[in-house]
Subunit: 345 residues, 2 copies
DNA sequence: ACTGTTTACTAAAACGTTACACTATTATCG
DNA sequence: CGATAATAGTGTAACGTTTTAGTAAACAGT
């Protein structure tokens, strides 16, 4: 149905090979300018489009990188996706974004589908807790390079992530610097691998100042605004005595703020809030959000860089990379630091 | 490198055809249970995965639907994407999500790429103002069915959209029912095809009540929280006299709320707010958002339904469909209706 | 015992490319 | 002038699958 190289060859009076050579802009082979021009003209006239399948079948390469996401609920994950996407595009490759729409079953399906020789490489943006080493086997067996943005237990693959432990440490230390001693922590449940480092960072910060950890201030939260709202409510109900809350991420923080306001308290006057991620919405929250910014650009660029190093050198046994980037504290209204500074004036 | 049908055929002592027949689970051909079992066993043993490219090349079908988005900034667009994705999955097809990451140039690239026989059909979630009829030509020429969620000028293709005019009419009428007479409208700029229907709906509602339209209350807004924040600021600066604002969408509304609070005013006491879309964040805004909910599920299901009707009957000349679904008013705090009801008690 | 039918399977040709190994033709040089 | 080299191309075999048209064997019917 479509126009093929054969059609162009016939029309231009040359061989299929020549047409292929010309249209691929292969600089090496010797084709006269005249022939080149004729082929290009005919191709344009017939509105030729290459058949991606035939090309991929023949070359074994698709110029396609699979971008695997669990869902599109989190703004920070989306901004990672966008940045990675553009890094891949800038290298002349295309992106095949796959989302599991919040279903772990889909994740397995998608990985199998990607393994059907569909992509040259894979970046997994939200691996855990949805992706296990075993699920990635089909890709590993076919030597399809994988980079994840979070470590996967039991599998040695390139991983470039954010040092969440240190981030939480920075945030909690900041709150302590403002005088807070009773600091709540809304953390994801244990199945989320981000949870443990966060709790560690929290403990480290408190330990360092010799403050004992009050376990009742550690509250498990669901994800999203809704999760934060409910978790903060539980925290406020059970112990009215905390003066600050460190939230799992900005979306949880926005939900938590709403719960605090609903309880008749003010942010940051009565309770200070710190989030994690630095999403745009945080800036426009009723009380703008102090947070730890993830180095999204860096993260994306380096992830793609590592992936392409492997693509370019398929045979070489490059060492597995495990890199942790540092988040950066962004001070806005919700932590009360600005309020305090103003008062001092 | 991968295991092919040939490998299985050799190992199982049958022909390639037989293997293909068995593994595709073609019910028609007569293959004995014994042979069938042997082939399946060998395939499993060798960890066979079909080669998607070879299959697509041979059959001319990829079982892939392209899902085209301009960006992932808007929550409502994402929820449409997720719903459409799962509708496509439930039909045994796969989704190829492509985002232009906010660059119109990418959009053209992506469409060309999709036209390289890469997909069997396309759903465009945010066509306007980024996609023109001319850009879609490569798809149209190859008879790849397209469904958009918004009309595209100059091109007759299936379109299933939301009746924004009526939505705005409902929202503005609701505000008028609450006694508001000076109602601001934050609308996208004219390049956005949603803009005109919104303004129309606004005018219709006012006309119906015999209220003259004060043009100074119609303010052009950028997208996202930031856009809403800035536009609301402009509105408040130039005329302090409006008592309600209808916002282009929920994200704009959240930004606008922040601007109102920054100006020392309260929502909804001093200024009532109504948004459009019904995103989750609106529920957890400091003042929960009254809005017009888009019928996302319906939208997605019907879009996919139309697409598959065309896929299943490629030759039949099905009539072009243009469907507008009705949004639904969701009353929360920001419009002041609840406040008023409480006072009355 | 012959035709005809059913059952179980297979050979070979596509699909549109690319890659490899060639062949003409023309130019260069001692 | 003949030999060599450079230039400009071409023919054909893959890539892994599906599809079409077939064959070989077993079986039934008269």
């Amino acid at each position: 149905m479509g126009v093929t190289l054969k059609d162009i060859a016939r029309e231009a009076g040359v061989s299929v090979t020549t047409v292929s050579l010309v249209l691929r802009k292969d600089p090496h082979p010797m084709i006269s300018v005249k022939t080149r021009q004729k082929v290009v003209d005919v191709a344009l006239k017939l509105k030729y489009r290459h058949n991606a399948y035939a090309r991929a079948l023949r070359t074994g390469k698709s110029q396609l990188i699979g971008l695997l996401m669990f869902d599109l609920d989190s703004k920070i994950a989306i901004s990672k996706q966008e940045t990675i996407d553009s890094a891949i595009r800038s290298r002349g490759y295309h992106t095949l974004l796959q989302t599991a729409a919040g279903h772990a079953d889909n994740m397995r399906d998608i990985i199998l589908e990607l393994a059907s020789s569909a992509v040259d490489g894979v970046v997994i943006i939200q691996p855990a807790p949805f992706v296990s080493a075993e699920m990635l086997l089909p890709l590993v067996e076919r030597d399809i390079p994988i980079v994840t943005l979070e470590p996967i237990e039991g599998l040695d693959i390139d991983c470039i992530t954010v040092n969440r432990k240190h981030g939480v440490y920075l945030g909690v230390s900041h709150l302590m610097g403002l005088g807070h001693r009773k600091i709540g922590l809304l953390h994801a449940d244990a199945s989320d691998p981000h949870s443990a480092p966060r709790i560690e960072g929290y403990r480290t910060a408190l330990d360092e100042s010799g403050i004992p950890v009050d376990e009742s201030l550690l509250i498990e939260t669901g994800l999203g605004c809704k999760g934060g709202y409910e978790a903060a409510k539980r925290l406020l109900d059970q112990s009215g005595s905390c003066t600050a809350i460190f939230c799992n991420d900005d979306e949880v923080a926005i939900g938590a703020m709403r719960a605090i306001l609903d309880a008749g308290l003010r942010v940051p006057d009565d309770i200070a809030i710190v989030g994690f991620d630095d999403i745009e919405m945080g800036v426009y929250a009723t009380v703008s959000l102090t947070t730890l910014a993830q180095p999204v650009n860096d993260l994306a660029e380096r992830a793609v860089e590592i992936l392409f190093k492997r693509l370019d050198a398929p045979e070489e046994n490059l060492p597995i990379q495990m890199i942790g980037l540092e988040p950066r504290l962004v001070v806005r209204e919700s932590c009360g630091a600005l309020l305090k500074a103003n008062k001092r004036l």
